[in-house]
Every structure is written in structure tokens, then in C-alpha cells.
């Protein structure tokens, strides 16, 4: 593996984190708009629920960003160590998701949720050691 500069390393990790966050937030926003899937399934059956989800543009955009995040991860893994990329991207995504959920989904991210996001972030980083 060729040596990669710090800037290139963190740019690749940032790309994964941003795409993953966009994917998670768009998917969560779509599910909130679609409504309770259990109720939709009870009303329109399993196929009705599948149609409600797959016919939603916001959901499909979210899946597109998830795919971009996955391929960015593969790209980064071909150049960087998995022991850095996997935990760094997973743990940073927890914090960026909390921020994005607060501003874009207007979720009430209170002190408990911030503490939890930071605990999980530290936990994932420690798991990689």
C-alpha cells in the first residue's frame, strides 16, 4: 500500500461520513413522512408497505447516498488500513448523525442523546484497538 497524506486520508474518511449521514437522514426523513409501517401493513398489506417505501423519492435518494458511502468505503479500503477507516468512519457518523438529526429532522437531541452518541463513538473507536 502506498503512503497516503493525512489530508487525503481524512478527506476519504470525511466523504464516507458525509455520504453515510446524508443516507441515514434522508432515509429517516422519508420514513417519518411515510408514517408508521406497521399501520400501513395492517391497512394495505405487505406489498402496500413496500410500494409506499420504494415509491418515495426521498427514500430512494437516501439509498443512493448509502450506496455512495459504501463505494467510498471500498475506495478508501483499497488505499488505507481497515483498522483506521472502519472505526473512524463509523464513530464519526454517530456524531454527525446526531447533528444532522437535530438540524434537518428537528429531532430533540437532548443532553442524554449527545452523551449516548459520544459514548458509542468512543466505544466503536476502542473496539478497533
Amino acid at each position: 500500500m502506498h503512503p497516503v497524506s493525512q489530508l487525503a486520508t481524512w478527506s476519504m474518511i470525511l466523504a464516507i461520513v458525509l455520504a453515510a449521514t446524508a443516507g441515514d437522514v434522508l432515509t429517516a426523513g422519508a420514513m417519518r413522512r411515510i408514517g408508521d409501517l406497521d399501520e400501513i401493513r395492517a391497512r394495505s398489506g405487505f406489498l402496500g408497505a413496500v410500494k409506499a417505501v420504494t415509491g418515495n423519492t426521498m427514500f430512494l435518494t437516501g439509498v443512493l447516498f448509502m450506496a455512495i458511502s459504501f463505494f467510498s468505503l471500498l475506495f478508501a479500503l483499497s488505499r488505507l488500513d481497515v483498522s483506521l477507516v472502519a472505526p473512524a468512519s463509523a464513530s464519526l457518523t454517530f456524531v454527525s448523525n446526531a447533528l444532522a438529526a437535530k438540524f434537518f429532522l428537528r429531532e430533540n437531541v437532548d443532553r442524554r442523546r449527545w452523551l449516548v452518541a459520544i459514548l458509542v463513538c468512543c466505544g466503536v473507536a476502542l473496539l478497533a484497538r
Partner: protein, 139 residues
């Protein structure tokens, strides 16, 4: 914020946690059986679909996505993600007891952090109630 959790919904979160972690582990076992795949021959990945572990892993990950979307339809993203982060712990435990990988004291401390986070989030509310919905409920 309100709690919308019922016993059945907790079971959905358990399904999210287990399908993701067990699915990933099945894929790892299957891909180890196949051995390294060259970037010059990506079509050899199709051969992976003949390995039962890989097929079972893919089926579990489809189940993960379905249960994850179901959970997001009645709970906040900042509730679902940490509540299901116990999956990292399940993967570590499967790696130790099934694949016989070594878990360092650092990893055990990571497991403790995640378990603590899950216990915190589980005791909190699961859904942010926005004002328009409150007005609808009131009227």
C-alpha cells in the same frame, strides 16, 4: 419527546441488532471460505452466491434493512442508531466465541462504553413530537 415503545417494537430493535451483526459475521465466514478475490476479476464475486453462508448473510441483511426502516417509521434516528449499536458488541462476542479471535482489554472497554450508551438511551424517550402533530392531537 414521548416514548412510543411497546414490547413488540423492542423486539423489532432486537431484530435490527441481531440481523445486522449475525449477517455481517455470516458474510465474513463465507468470504473466508472463498479466499481473496482479485480486483482484476470482480465477476468471481458471483461465485460467492453459491456459498450458503453468503446467501444466509445476504438474507439476514435484507431482514435488517426491512426492520431498520420499520423502526425509523416510529422512532427517532438518534434513538434507533444507539439503541441498535449493541450489534458491535454482538459481532465482537461472535468473533471471540465462534471465530476464536482475540479480544483485547481495549475492546472489552469499548464493549462496556456501548453497553452503557444503550442502557442510557433505552431509558429515554424514543420520538420527538413536533408541534403540528401536537395540534392535530389536541383538536
Amino acid at each position: 419527546m414521548i416514548s412510543t415503545m411497546t414490547f413488540r417494537r423492542w423486539l423489532v430493535l432486537v431484530a435490527v441488532t441481531l440481523t445486522a451483526s449475525v449477517g455481517d459475521t455470516f458474510l465474513a465466514v463465507g468470504m473466508h471460505e472463498i479466499g481473496p478475490i482479485s480486483l482484476h476479476h470482480p465477476l468471481s464475486l458471483i461465485a460467492a452466491l453459491k456459498v450458503p453462508w453468503v446467501v444466509a448473510g445476504i438474507l439476514l441483511l435484507i431482514g435488517f434493512f426491512a426492520s431498520y426502516l420499520t423502526a425509523l417509521s416510529w422512532a427517532d434516528l438518534t434513538f434507533v442508531l444507539p439503541a441498535t449499536s449493541l450489534g458491535y458488541v454482538v459481532v465482537a462476542l461472535l468473533a471471540k466465541f465462534w471465530l476464536h479471535e482475540y479480544i483485547s482489554p481495549w475492546r472489552w472497554s469499548g464493549i462496556a462504553f456501548i453497553a452503557l450508551a444503550v442502557s442510557f438511551i433505552a431509558r429515554g424517550p424514543s420520538l420527538t413530537q413536533h408541534e403540528p402533530q401536537l395540534e392535530t392531537t389536541a383538536s
